[in-house]
Amino acid sequence: MKKVILISGILFFSTLLFAQSTFFWIEDVPWDDGKALNIKANVPADTVYLQKALEDGTWETIYTGKGRSLSFTQNELNPDIKYRYRLLVPRPAFNDTIFFMAEAQPKEQWFYLHKLSYLLILLAVSIAIIYYVQNARKGKDYYIRRISGLDCIEDSIGRATEKGKPILFVPGIMDLDDIQTISSLTILSHLAHKAAEYDTEIIVPCRFSMVLSAAREVVKEAYIKAEKPDAYNQDRIFYLTDDQFGYVAGIDGIMVREQPAANFFLGSFYAESLILAETGFSTGAIQTAGTAQASQLPFFVVSCDYTLIGEELFAASAYLSRDPQQLGSLKGHDFGKLLVILLIIAGVITEMSGWHWFKAFFEGAQ
């Protein structure tokens, strides 16, 4: 028995000296936010127990399994704390257990390397947009294809004016932290300006209070710009409810009761898209919808007269403003599309040629 204890003791102290390079060691996960450690071991044992030291001095087993080529990643760690781990290796032949110990502190890095491809694409597209905007500032004219969904806005307002009925504008069902809602509000600005010029009433029911206050400000400024501040009616831009289907019920009620001549559904939509669009269709209103939610687009295409598909929603403000700088930025989008097409072609060719590094490089951004 004394021999066993002696051998175990010698093994323990020798492993303390050499553990890092031979049997049990810890590596910091590279290029991360300092919340993970890679715990590695290589001991010829079928069953090992990996334990982590807790604050109260006890040990928590976090892995049980084979000890050969063991690699265990522990996440959700704190970069300010040094963590201690031990690897228990039972030796049934000797009726004892030896253990190895190691400690490490996760480190925060200054760059997510797996997002490099993402950064490069972002930089390329951003530089292209800034380049085209600068060119536009210098007076270069760019051709922008016609977007019928946006060209129809004036016709829709004209129709509402002729019929003496209001326009309904729904800025989506998401809050102001969604870029689609912001894009929707930029379109609302143009729409409200036109509505003010035509003396047509505009109704804007909102799902969130933040959207409500932004929409009110946008419409108010549009009426001031159209030199008709007295025509601005704050009561027509109102909060309905935070509840998704309650909001839909409220808008459906408005459509049925007030029979708007033109409906605009622009922003982020989910399951309610078809309920809104079909109710609007049944009232005979001219309907324009726009969203970047690919799954909701078919519903809008079927039920609305015009649909802004994905990118068109974000291009709408630039298109409507006819501001050369903003139109220049749309050319930057086109450069981005060209870049994506080239990358897809390059990806197909490299994959077919067996060079998988290209795909792996871009997959890293996910």
Binding site: D177, L212, V218, F245, A292, S317, Q326, G336, K337
Partner: protein, 232 residues
Amino acid sequence: MKYKIPLVFAFVCGILVVISEFIPHRPFNMLITTLQDWFMIISGFAILLGQISLFQANIKKIKEKNKDWPFYLAGLISFTVMLIFGLLWGTQEYRGIFGQGEKIQATVGMKPFDYLFANAFMPLSSTMFSLLAFFIASAAYRAFIIRSFESNLLMITAVIVMLGRTSFGGMLTSWLPEGLKFLHLPNLSDFIMEFPNSAAQRAILISAALGIIGSSLRIILGIERSYLGGEK
């Protein structure tokens, strides 16, 4: 000044958020969470604004005896009742001013707020959602009317996908020999969903992502200002 301060804020916050997406080191990795927390705090205050707007709009309509004014009254009464019940006896998770309302719970089985939520609000909400089934039918009918070559294609594709997703579709083509198994309706349906459908959806998503980059850049650089209510 009215526009300059928000534009400076938009620029600084926009740049910081973009940078923090690529830097895992503190304080950058905490920025997005912090800004989201700030947004939640501002939203919390803004809720009051929404409730005031709701009350003002409805009371005005009731006072003026607008058409269908009883509906607005019903809306206000519902709002007030839920608010009072929530304040007095709380909800399932939180206690109210009068505590947990044990006596009421013994009578109706749950707190008054939760009772109304489960027995009035949820059925109404489900009713709205269930309308979707009927609207899908009417929209599909219009979409599948054969008017052109494209609508013809759409209808054929839709029929294949719908049949392929049912056991009846599988049964219809189960007799096909092994060499023609790719024509088996569930296989055809899977092929349509996996390749042409995914390709089209990804094209839309990629263009939308580019649009988001462009739109964000316009806002960060102050080229796009109409969301502030004013343009250049």
